[in-house]
């Protein structure tokens, strides 16, 4: 792959650590004392197969006669919504504006175990206890779609989404036409490093193979995550990789592992290891590193020259939902720019509503002191609002069919599970 011209400094905009910001997700993390556990929200970025859209009638058939019930049961990841003490301002505002009361639970730790929990219930047509849930584009979301576990969305009731969602967030490859999902937040998988131990600038995926960092490199345990990085380093676009490319990529990863360069294949516990110095260079999610930098840790994040990957966490409605209309109302509600802004200012990943950037700038102008700095950092960060040139270097994940998924796992799983 060619390396497009770009402003490298822009991508590494998070150079100066700040003393301490006011954003509450960080406080929550600190209070929890275990950022590893708290940062579990970032999800693994894998993408599953796409499915044929349901028949037109399916939408009408499902939604006809459905009514708003005034309650919504929402399952989300930890620290993935704005929080003030024990209260959720956005949810309270939603209740005020729509009359729908929300039961909010941080029930999802990762996609595989969540899918494992709900799969038997949905297969048996039982209520899973939630009307709305957030899943990353990936194998498990793909399985949920293929198995008919998700409700096809009635877009006539999603006008705010249609009006305000960024073009990148509409009609994604993993769910053409947003038939089953609309995005909650997105994030970038790139490379983070700790300049306390690394005295050069990390710019390439190839740096993860540098023997200088033997035993100090962290990779992700998710097979699609590592496969994508290996493919990109070989100059192959993951979206168009063939089985032969997969084998070459797996060999390259095996080589890295056998040379003792990889310290560990991490789930979402890499941040602590990176801060403590157990690993010096590590695959990382943008929001995690943004949080750490905003909290005062001296870490750098880079979208590698060979390319990085972008993933999206999506809202979807399980087929056994009791309050689907309420869920749909909420899905549309979070696309109101002021609501999206409140969420973005707390969550620090990539919001699906581009208009939030200006609104955050406006909020910054109205704030003072640390708040102002913090919001300015947020609005100016290429990790939250990537420039077009950066987006061009970000790849989405290959959509795998059932059989190719098995082949893929058989090729890449031995790397992490030796």
């Amino acid at each position: 792959m060619s390396t497009p011209a770009h402003d490298a400094a822009l991508l590494r905009g998070l150079t100066r650590p700040r003393a301490r910001g006011p954003l509450t997700r960080r406080d929550a993390l600190r209070a929890a004392g275990l950022s590893a556990a708290g940062l579990g929200l970032a999800a693994c970025g894998v993408q599953g197969r796409t499915t044929a859209p349901p028949e037109k009638d399916a939408v009408a058939e499902y939604w006809t006669g459905k009514q708003q019930n005034g309650t919504l049961r929402f399952a989300n990841w930890p620290l993935y919504i704005d929080k003030a003490g024990k209260r959720y301002p956005t949810l309270e505002r939603f209740t005020r504006d729509t009359g729908i009361r929300v039961t909010y639970r941080e029930a999802i730790q990762d996609n595989p175990s969540w899918f494992g929990k709900i799969q038997p219930q949905l297969a048996a047509n039982q209520d899973i206890g939630y009307d709305l849930m957030v899943m990353t584009n990936g194998i498990h979301l793909g399985r949920a779609m293929a198995l008919g576990y998700l409700v096809p969305l009635d877009h006539s009731r999603l006008p705010t989404f249609a009006a305000n969602a960024g073009p990148r967030f509409k009609d994604p490859a993993y769910d053409p036409g947003n038939v089953y999902t609309v995005p909650w937040q997105s994030g970038i998988t790139g490379i983070a490093y700790n300049p306390k131990y690394v005295d050069e600038e990390i710019t390439r995926i190839a740096d993860l193979w540098n023997p200088r960092y033997k035993g100090k490199v962290g990779m992700m345990v998710d097979t699609q995550d590592i496969a994508n990085f290996a493919l990109l380093s070989l100059g192959v676009d993951p979206e168009y990789a063939t089985e032969a490319d997969w084998r070459r990529a797996a060999a390259r990863l095996q080589e890295q592992r056998d040379a003792g360069i990889v310290r560990k294949y991490y789930e979402n516990d890499y941040v602590d290891a990176l801060v403590r110095g157990d690993v010096w260079v590590c695959m990382a999610w943008s929001g995690d590193i943004f949080q750490q930098v905003a909290e005062g840790q001296d870490l750098r994040f880079t979208v590698p020259l060979e390319g990085g990957t972008i993933w999206t966490d999506n809202m979807c409605v399980p087929k056994t939902a009791r309050n689907p209309v309420d869920a749909l109302t909420f899905m549309d509600y979070v696309y109101r720019p002021p609501v999206a802004t409140a969420l973005a200012e707390y969550i620090n990943y990539i919001p699906p509503v581009p208009a939030t950037q200006d609104l955050i700038r406006k909020d910054a102008a109205g704030a003072d002191g640390e708040d102002r700095e913090s919001l300015k950092l947020l609005a100016g960060s290429p990790l939250i609002f990537p420039a077009a040139a950066d987006l061009a270097r970000l790849r989405t994940y290959q959509t795998l069919s059932g059989t190719s998924e098995k082949v893929f796992e058989r090729i890449f799983q031995p790397v992490t599970q030796g």
Binding site: P112, G116, L147, G215, R263, R276, D278, Q417
Partner: protein
């Protein structure tokens, strides 16, 4: 008549419990373990015994590694736990129950949290290794986390009370007069221990070894928190098969292989070291 029924009535709740939550799932899993297909297209019963051989061939390294870690951890727990149990039983005095509580105290904190705490203690630049490296006692690149030592250490730490408690119970039951009698018969302290105390405590050791070795071998938390790429245990593989791949047949087959291997191990162990036999051998 009633008297004859009573014992059966007493065993009924426990029996039903085991039937519903052990036997039924086991039968169900056994059936799953020979099925074919995937989660999307559905699984069908194909009586595919190759699931077992496939699993065994693909993951023999992890099976052997788990056995090795389990045995090493058990041995370590025995070495550490026996003296502790001995000390509490014979030297604990009036505060025995306090010491026992102290042994159990870590259980009041979540298993996962205790293991995660190790990650902090053993960090490359952490409070333990940094001073040693600064003093030149350890090379700069030295690390404990993501090594077999860290995983075995974590296993030992987490299951140590299961070794201490049964040994303590066995030792506690020994009549002190038996030891006095040995001494009166001119046994040295060492002889009194090896000829009297140790044989009498062997049932406790037997139980302790079973209670630690089995869960250690099938553990996956320690390997995933403290281990690295070369420390994957069979528990981690089973977890991946079930939760990540949703390959339930492979996971079930692996579980049954593990169960069979451990049962075989336990029977061999019980036969070789069956407490009665051991008593007879040692007493001679």
């Amino acid at each position: 008549m009633r008297r004859r029924i009573t014992p059966y009535l007493l065993v009924l709740p426990g029996g039903l419990w085991l039937l519903a939550f052990l036997v039924v799932p086991l039968v169900f899993m056994a059936s799953v373990s020979t099925q074919q297909g995937d989660v999307v297209t559905g699984f069908t019963q194909a009586f595919r015994l190759a699931n077992y051989t496939d699993a065994l061939v693909a993951y023999r390294t992890q099976f052997l590694r788990s056995a090795g870690y389990g045995l090493a951890g058990t041995g370590l727990a025995l070495l550490l736990g026996y003296p502790v149990a001995y000390w509490i039983a014979f030297r604990g005095g009036a505060h025995k129950s306090t010491y026992l509580l102290l042994v159990l105290l870590p259980f009041f904190v979540s298993f996962v949290l205790r293991t995660v705490a190790w990650r902090f203690l053993l960090a490359d630049d952490g409070i333990l290794l940094r001073p040693l490296k600064d003093a030149g006692l350890l090379p700069e690149g030295f690390h404990v986390l993501q090594t077999a030592a860290a995983v075995i250490g974590g296993l030992t730490y987490n299951y140590l009370p299961f070794m201490i408690l049964p040994i303590y119970v066995a030792l506690e039951r020994i009549d002190p007069r038996v030891v006095e009698a040995a001494r009166d018969l001119y046994a040295t302290g060492r002889a009194a221990f090896t000829r009297v105390v140790l044989p009498l405590s062997l049932p406790g050791v037997f139980a302790g070894v079973l209670m630690t070795c089995v869960p250690m071998t099938s553990d996956y938390v320690n390997a995933s928190i403290l281990g690295g790429p070369a420390n994957t245990m069979i528990g981690n593989i089973i977890q991946t098969q079930y939760l990540v791949n949703n390959d339930y047949p492979a996971g079930a087959a692996l579980s049954f292989i593990l169960m069979a291997a451990m049962l075989a191990g336990i029977f061999a162990y019980a036969r070789a070291l069956g407490t009665e036999n051991v008593l007879r051998v040692v007493a001679r």
